[in-house]
Amino acid sequence: MSYLQKSPWIIHYDASSCNGCDIEVLACLTPLYDVERFGILNTGNPKHADIFVITGGVNEMNKEVVRNIYEQMPHPKVVVAVGICACSGGVFRECYNISGGVNTVIPVDIYVPGCAARPESIIDGIVQALGVLEKKKTAMLRGEGIA
């Protein structure tokens, strides 16, 4: 039963998504998909979190909020961009108020496509993120600096 080696805690922030991906992230926590069986917990405090799940593209106003949350998270940390909007800006790419995907503000490790991203995709994304987390951790322990 050891699908995951570690129990990562996630923090979710809705940049400027339409809610579609948000409610799918929430749906992951509820009985049908229940990521808590892997020990994945949703936390509201960035200092507790290992994985930053972010939905939606980034606009001028929440740029700082996103950066703030990211910087408050302890190392090692992984960013998972959920949904097309977070990957590239999606259908709102050409809107005057959207700067683009999340990677315009903070480095993104895993992209989860889909509009809205399906809960299964999100689980896959978080599982992949755990691999990245492990790599970052070993790199950190070897003293290769913070990546």
Binding site: L32, I84, S88, G90, V91, S121
Partner: protein
């Protein structure tokens, strides 16, 4: 009374088993109607570019001279708009979804070289 209700719930749960889908072990739940990812039957494509023109997310690139049809999977919103517009009905949605990744996936399809038949019809502007 309350205890009875509770006992019934416990019993029901014992018989029914867990509600949770065992996702990574069991396959993902899809229905025949599910729009997962966009696929093209490249042999039928006439590279008219209607799908590119109408894509709300600008995910599709069509190059007529090189006979390539390219989709940026990390931009496609799988709305099915292009499927409606395609004059040759060579676009369709598959049920399984694109796997998450560390890099954007851009899939390129190259059409076969046409036989002597001249390539053109169906290219009216929308």
């Amino acid at each position: 009374m309350k205890a009875g209700v509770m006992a019934l719930t416990v019993l029901k749960n014992l018989i029914k088993g867990p509600y949770t889908s065992r996702y990574p072990y069991a396959p993902a739940k899809v229905s025949p109607a599910t729009r997962g990812y966009l696929d093209v039957t490249i042999e039928d494509c006439i590279f008219c570019g209607l799908c590119r023109m109408h894509c709300p997310a600008d995910a599709i690139e069509v190059n007529k001279t090189e006979r390539t049809w390219t989709i940026n999977r990390f931009r496609c919103v799988i709305c099915g708009c292009c499927v409606d517009y395609c004059p040759k009905k060579c676009l369709h949605c598959e049920q399984s979804y694109t796997v998450p990744g560390t890099e954007p996936v851009i899939a390129q399809y190259t059409g076969p070289v046409p036989e002597e038949k001249p390539v053109q019809p169906g290219e009216s502007s929308a």
